[in-house]
C-alpha cells in the first residue's frame, strides 16, 4: 500500500460528511470514488492532502503520517486537480504548468524545471499552447493543463476531482486514457472522484462506492457494479451488461422518485 486511509471522520460544523472511512491504494493502481452528490467524494480527496483537516483518523503515505508532513514535502508526493478551475489574472500555459514545480523551487527556474515542463506539455499534446493565455483555452484544454501541472509536480499519487465531468465524449476518453497510461507507465497511483459509472468501470482497478459519507461497497469493477448496489446507492433501477468484458451500466429509472417520471412535463 502506498497510501492508507484509516478511520477518517469529517464534519462541516454539525453536518457529518465522512464517517469512519478506511481504504488503501497500491502503487500503479487507479481507484475510483463513485457515489451520489454529497456522498463525500470531494471531501475525502481534500482530507487526503490536508486541504481539509479530518476530525479523526489518519492518512499514511508510505508509512508516514501525512498529518505530520509539511505541505512542501507533501506537495512532492501528492498532486491535486480540483473540481472547478478558477479564472484569474492572465497567465500563460507554461507558467501554470511551471507552478507544478513550486515545491521544488526556491527562486530561480532551473533548466531542469523547464525541461520537465516542456516534456509534460508534450505528453499532454499542449506544445502549441505553451505561451497562450490559460483563460482563453477550451474546457478540455484547460483540464489538460491542470493535469499537466500536477504531473510536473512528479507526484506518486494523483487526486483528481471530476476531471471529466465537463468534457465532451472524445475528450473524456482522451483524458481517461492519459491518466490510465500515466498510472501504468510511471507507476503513479490515482484516486479519482467520478460521476460517469461506465468510465469508472472501464478504467479503474478498484472502485469505492460512497453513500452518505460511508463506504457502501468496494472492490473490482466486475464485482461491484451490480444492479443491487446501484439501486441501493443511487436509488436507480439499472441493467448491467457484461458483453464488453467490463460491466456496462444502463440506467433505467429512479425508484420511488418524487419527481415526475414521465420526463419533461412543465404544465
Amino acid at each position: 500500500m502506498i497510501l492508507e486511509i484509516k478511520g477518517i471522520h469529517f464534519s462541516y460544523r454539525s453536518r457529518k460528511v465522512l464517517n469512519d472511512i478506511t481504504l488503501g491504494i497500491k502503487e500503479g493502481e487507479l481507484l475510483s470514488l463513485v457515489g451520489p452528490n454529497g456522498s463525500g467524494k470531494t471531501t475525502l480527496l481534500k482530507c487526503i492532502n490536508k486541504i481539509l483537516k479530518p476530525k479523526q483518523g489518519t492518512v499514511m503515505m508510505k508509512g508516514e503520517d501525512v498529518g505530520r508532513m509539511n505541505l512542501k514535502e507533501l506537495a512532492k508526493c501528492i498532486g491535486y486537480v480540483p473540481q472547478s478551475s478558477l479564472t484569474s489574472f492572465p497567465s500563460t500555459v507554461f507558467d501554470i504548468v511551471l507552478l507544478g514545480r513550486k515545491p521544488y523551487l526556491t527562486w530561480g527556474v532551473s533548466s531542469e524545471d523547464k525541461e520537465i515542463v516542456s516534456r509534460v506539455l508534450e505528453l499532454m499534446k499542449l506544445e502549441d499552447f505553451a505561451l497562450r493565455d490559460f483563460n482563453e483555452l477550451s474546457g478540455g484544454e484547460k483540464q489538460g493543463v491542470l493535469l499537466a501541472r500536477t504531473l510536473a509536480q512528479q507526484p506518486e499519487i494523483l487526486l483528481l476531482d471530476e476531471l471529466t465531468s465537463n468534457l465532451d465524449l472524445r475528450h473524456q476518453l482522451e483524458v481517461m486514457n492519459l491518466i490510465s497510461s500515466v498510472v501504468k507507465k510511471e507507476g503513479i497511483s490515482a484516486i479519482i472522484a467520478i460521476h460517469d459509472l461506465n468510465l469508472a468501470s472501464r478504467y479503474s482497478d478498484q472502485v469505492v462506492f460512497l453513500k452518505d459519507g460511508e463506504i457502501y461497497a468496494e472492490g473490482e469493477p466486475k464485482s461491484i457494479f451490480t444492479p443491487e448496489n446501484i439501486r441501493q446507492v443511487y436509488g436507480v433501477e439499472a441493467i448491467v451488461n457484461h458483453d464488453s468484458g467490463r460491466p456496462h451500466i444502463i440506467s433505467i429509472a429512479p425508484i420511488n422518485s418524487s419527481l415526475n417520471m414521465g420526463g419533461r412535463n412543465e404544465g
Binding site: P90, D95, I96, L99, K102, P103, E127
Partner: protein
Amino acid sequence: MKKVTETKRTKIIEAYSRFTFRKIVFILTSMGALLLLVLFAISVGAANLSIGDVIRAVLSRIFPNIESTRLASIVVWELRLPGILMAIIAGAGLAISGAAMQGILRNPLVSPFTIGVSSSAALGASIAIILGFGLIGTEKYFVITNAFIFAVASAFLVIGLSRLRGITAEVLILAGIAVMYFSSAATSLLQYIATEEQLKVVIHWLFGSLSGATWEQVLIITMVLVCCLPLLIKYSWDINAIASSGDEVAISLGVNTSLVRRMVLVLSCLITAGIICFTGIIGFVCLVAPHITRMLIGADHRFLLPFSCILGAILLLLADTISRTIFSPIIIPVGIVISFIGVPFFLYLLLTRRKEYFA
C-alpha cells in the same frame, strides 16, 4: 522520431526564455525611463536653473572640487531632491502594496486604500490637526504619528475581523468599507467643529502632497521599504500559486496560504501607512500601477512586483513634476494630478489590451 520531439521541446523552452527575456528588457527600459525622468524633474521648477547648473549642483556635494552656485545647490539639494526621491519611493511602495494585495486576494479591485487604511490615516491626522491630540511623540510630529498609528490599527482591525470569517477578498473589502465609513464620519464630525484655519490644513493633507518632503522623511520611508520589499518579493511564487489557482490548489502545491496571506497583508499595509503618514492621501497609484504593469508584462509576480515598483515611481514622479510646473509657481496637489494623468492612460490600456488583461 526522437530527434523531432527533442527539437520541439527545445523550441518551447526557447520561446519561454524569449518571453522571460522580453519582461527583463521591459523592466530595464523602464528603469532607464525613470532615470531620464529624474533628470528632467530635477531641472524644472520655479527657480530657473539650466540642466548644467543642476548637474553641477548635484555633483558639488559629492565631489568638493566641482563648483556650484549657492542658490542652485540649495534649490536642488533642499527643495527638489527630497521631493523627487519621495515621489519615487512613495510611488514604488504604494504600487507594490497594491500589486501584492490584488494577487493574494485574487481581486483586481483591492488595495490598502479599499480596506480603509487611508481613511483611518486621515482620521488620525485630523485628530492631531483639529484637536491637537497625539498618541506619541511631540506636537510637531502628532500628525505623522497619529496618521501612522491609526492606519496600522485599522489595518489590523480589518484583518482581525475578517479572520473570524476566513480572509477572503469579499469579507476583507466589506470590513474595510465599514471601517472606512466610520473613519470618514468621524473625520467629517471633526471638520464640522474645526476652525477655518484648521480645516485648510486638514484638506491640504487629504489632497496628498510631496512638496513638504524632507531628507529625514525620505530616509525613514526608505528604511521601511528596505525592510519590507524583499520580504514581499520573496513571496512571489506563493502569490503566483494563490493568484492563479486559488487556495486549495496552492495548498496542494505546498503553500501555507493563511500565513502567506497574513504576511502579505500586514507588509502591504505597513508600507502604505509608512508612506501616507508623510505624504497624505495619494490613492490612485496603488490601485492602478499594478493594473498597468499586469497589462504590460503579465501576472507573474516575480516580475510584476518589481516592475510595478518602477511604474509606480514613474507615475508618481511624473504627476509630481506636472503638479509643480504646470501652474508654476502654484503647486497643484499631486493627488489630484495623478488621477488626471493615470485615468486616461489606464482606460486606454483597458480598452486596447483587453485580451491580455482580465478573463
